[in-house]
Symmetry: C2
């Protein structure tokens, strides 16, 4: 099952948009029997079968009308589960945090997720504007103390995310020990939130084993695969739920998708390429984004399908 949200933010009180069920070919939709994705997640066991039973998709889907599938969430917790990404980031940010076997995670802004075609607003180019291609999951209510094994069943939907970052602010914020606030503006989501069964064997051991194709200004920049996460999403969910109940609709991210053969396949963020350049040449050569730049991201399955649809956005001055 694939779900999307029609943007209705121009109407008062409609910031959560209008939930729709999307046809298998992604070209049509049917209105959902509940208003919003949050409402569906609040009562998933009862609502999901009603959504899945829809087989007639009468209306053509215009991608330009889509908001993020979850336009806002009560909680967004982002991991950093790809080890080779972390090693390069230490070089770029000039911060080498203490390493451990525990998942890395911070809480970010969740009161707004950009839709897949929205222009993305930043206060200035001088802060080092960067994209970060990720996969993410959305859970139903997860009680405090849920184990990783138990957490798997709470993963109801899988999404594709661009975790926008301001790199020049990231290092100084890390050095405070308080983590990121200014360095992490709102994220973007690809059009479709999908149930795990949509991915078949690509959803394995709590990992999205799909390629994430990233194009910057129309040129391929990266094509890393989601398989080599050091911790699966179920482990990230359990980590997040260790000392708090997770509200239904909590979004949990993988961190930048990255593979050890990054020199061949490229990267899902600019900072990582700059890290490679520091290793290879002693200094970075690739600049961060400029206003007017575009980024396109598409998760692609081995059979060629794009279950999450495409993020295609332009960076603009706020």
């Amino acid at each position: 099952m694939r779900l999307a949200t029609l943007d209705a933010s121009a109407q008062p009180g409609k910031r959560d948009g209008m939930l729709v069920v999307v046809s298998p070919d992604g070209g049509h939709f049917a209105p959902a029997p509940v208003k919003t994705l949050q409402e569906a997640l609040d009562n998933w066991a009862a609502v999901a079968p009603r959504l899945a039973a829809i087989g007639d998709f009468p209306q053509p889907l215009d991608p330009a009308r889509l908001a993020a599938p979850l336009p806002r969430a009560w909680q967004w917790l982002d991991g950093s589960a790809f080890a080779c990404h972390g090693e390069l980031m230490d070089k770029v940010l000039g911060v080498v945090p203490e390493k451990s076997d525990r998942p890395l995670m911070y809480q970010g802004v969740s009161s707004h997720f950009y839709g897949p075609h929205d222009d993305v607003r930043f206060p200035g180019e001088e802060f080092g504007i960067d994209f970060e291609g990720e996969f993410g999951v959305i859970v139903d209510a997860v009680p405090m103390g849920t184990s990783a094994a138990e957490a798997m069943a709470h993963i109801r939907l899988i999404v594709q995310i661009n975790d926008w970052s301001l790199r020049k602010l990231a290092g100084p914020e890390m050095k405070t020990g308080f983590g990121w606030v200014q360095a992490k503006p709102p994220c973007s989501m690809a059009p479709f939130a999908v149930t795990p069964d949509e991915l078949g064997s690509v959803w394995a051991d709590g990992r999205v084993c799909a390629d994430l194709l990233v194009d910057w200004n129309g040129r391929r920049f990266g094509a890393a695969n989601g398989a080599p996460m050091g911790h699966g999403f179920h482990e990230l969910v359990a980590h997040a739920a260790a000392t708090r109940d997770l509200v239904a609709g909590t979004v949990i991210g993988s961190g930048t998708v990255s593979n050890p053969n990054y020199r061949e396949i490229g990267s899902s963020c600019i900072a990582e390429r700059r890290g490679i350049e520091i290793v290879d040449h002693g200094a970075p050569r690739t600049d961060f984004m400029a206003f007017g730049d575009t980024v396109r991201m598409e998760g692609r399955l081995p059979d060629g399908r794009s279950p999450f649809g495409v993020i295609e956005q332009k960076v603009v001055k706020a």
Copy 2:
């Protein structure tokens, strides 16, 4: 004007409770003309005058029926604006972050704030359960790039908060550079959210210059004053809004209220006292909280009034 929220969480779809306007003596209330505090904040300019016009408070207020004034928020950003608190915490947590003139801030869980009399659930005593007495503000919508001077007018309500912390998890999370997730379970709020004018001259330069009386298991533990914040709340709001729009209903905290004469007046959290003991005796002598312990917090004005009401809670096993 003082606002409170009646707990209605037992009813489906009523997690935001029912907004009421509270009488000057705190003993009675009138139902508000909008359902929830979030709804009021979403349209504050139009709603606030209607709330302020209420002068008849027909119903007796039972403190046991109260939720947090904002039972959940789209965003909670907590500062650490009292310098003498930070210096002691460095000793307790074994982490000495890089110092700067910029505000310290992290984003915490906002999907639930405990009501003032709720039992507070933790997974175990071994994590170092601690209270943190704070003041906080609630803003209406703040556009990205708002200056500190402009931010003052966006501060619509002032609240009193207990930012519950698990100290044994705090140091290791700081060392990752990602900040706190497990170390910061949900906070509690005192019964009443008040407009700045309620505080008179006690609201000065973006600071709540009131004493925060903290009692642990019935004994006075601290009575620090909110005046000596290194950055005022308007500066914290501007810091938070530097790279993101702040959604209406964003809550921003002061961090633990602390005064340089902490040896005389005590502390607003246990960790700070442990820091003093480390300085004075080489090791901490005061244990963290045990299940069954209680904490009481009350902001008190020079004229004896308690504008925020009283937090009085027990710590229990989840």
